[in-house]
Amino acid sequence: MSDLKLFNLLATESFVYVCTSQLSSRNYKLTYFNVKAVAEPIRFIFAYAGVEYEDNRVEHAQWPEIKGTTPWGQLPLLQVGDKTLAQSNAICRYLGKKFNLDGANEWENAKIDEFVDALADFRTAWTRTFREKDETRKSEMMKDVLETVVPQIFGTLDATIAGNNGSPYLVGKKITWIDLQTAHYLDMFENLNPGVLIKYPNLKKLRNTVYETDQIKAWCQRRPATNM
């Protein structure tokens, strides 16, 4: 092979990509089930930051033997070298800071914490409906989510962006991990409740902004297709 051809081969993106991916995927391993759910905000952070990681998805059949090896009997679990970290938002906050996807100061980080917990309140009310067996009770609960919880929480988040000095993000001037997480849950919720974002134009715009970034677009195209 001529020197020029060899040089071109070595300089191609794919070669560099393979090298860096092998280097850094030794560092991070995320274990979760083969669904999006609470691991997806973590996957979005890796995707947006362009950091390689091992996206380890366990089958439900494997879970019983793995469960005992996890600190709290739950997933997701992040392994960073030989250290482990559990609890999805602890993981998001850690990676958010590491990859410069956190707030610009302590105040902004406190607001991010506030919003992620408000979002968790929404998720709790929503996911409770999945577990309800009685159909009548289930639709009552869902009605309450749509008529009470969503206006309170989506409404406040939407107003937060509106009041953020022209920024399309929830906190500060640049995208942070709370924007990535919120966009994911908004998208999941809207898929099941089409039109719900019409009343929340700033949230709709946030979701679109996140999903239209090259990194998230590429991730959504290559991630495994799963229902939840």
Binding site: W72, Y94, W107, A118
Partner: protein, 209 residues
């Protein structure tokens, strides 16, 4: 203007913040709404609440933070109770989230009205929280370098939160959880001996929750 903390007349989700402010020797207005059933936040307080919930804190400059963990973490960071090292800080988050999970598991018992079912639930919850949480925390503290901290060798908000969690569940359900856990007992005593926290725990209003 002083810091204002709005919550119910109870320990609940505001107590860890009260402990941290007490530890730091920071004055604050401890505003308490009556805790009656059905649970209602007085309209003049609710109007301030971003998400319609308490606790809420108003800082000296009037800025607000809602969501109890966001509030607690903010003051923890301000008063050197969050480790500098990012990984250690993340582990504190992990532990506090896990403490919240066991507190939530015990909270479920409170809703059960039937005394027999309540007793059954209590046994179930005790067994599962021992296995999933208390045994795990005991092992973490027992293995720690000084035998009395969850993360590193100095006090963090995770130690304070755990002490409160065990104390609160113990008080509500009238159970001595520390009896079976010597390392947790040592951690707890260490936290409760902190001057500000000790004084606060002794003078705080005595409430069921």
């Amino acid at each position: 203007m002083s810091i204002k903390l709005y919550y119910f007349d109870g320990r609940g989700l505001a107590e860890p913040t009260r402990w941290i402010l007490a530890y730091a020797g920071v004055e604050f207005e401890d505003i308490r709404a009556p805790l009656d059933l059905p649970v209602t936040i007085p309209p003049e307080i609710k109007a301030k609440c971003t998400w319609g919930q308490v606790p809420l804190v108003e800082l000296e400059d009037g800025k607000k933070i809602a969501q109890s963990l966001a509030i607690t973490r903010y003051f923890a960071k301000k008063h050197n109770l969050v480790p500098e090292d990012l990984y250690e800080a993340a582990v504190c988050d992990e532990y506090v989230d896990s403490i919240r999970e066991f507190m939530q598991a015990w909270y479920v018992i409170t809703h059960e009205k039937d005394p027999e079912k309540k007793q059954e639930k209590r046994q179930e919850v005790l067994k599962s929280t021992k296995q999933r949480f208390f045994d795990v925390f005991e092992s973490i503290v027992a293995k720690s370098s000084d035998g009395k901290h969850l993360v590193g060798n100095s006090l963090t908000w995770a130690d304070i939160y755990l002490t409160h969690g065990l104390n609160h569940v113990g008080l509500v359900h009238e159970i001595d959880l520390l009896n079976d856990y010597p390392a947790l007992k040592k951690l707890s005593e260490n936290v409760l001996q902190e001057k500000g926290i000790q004084a606060w725990v002794q003078k705080r209003p005595l409430t069921k929750f």
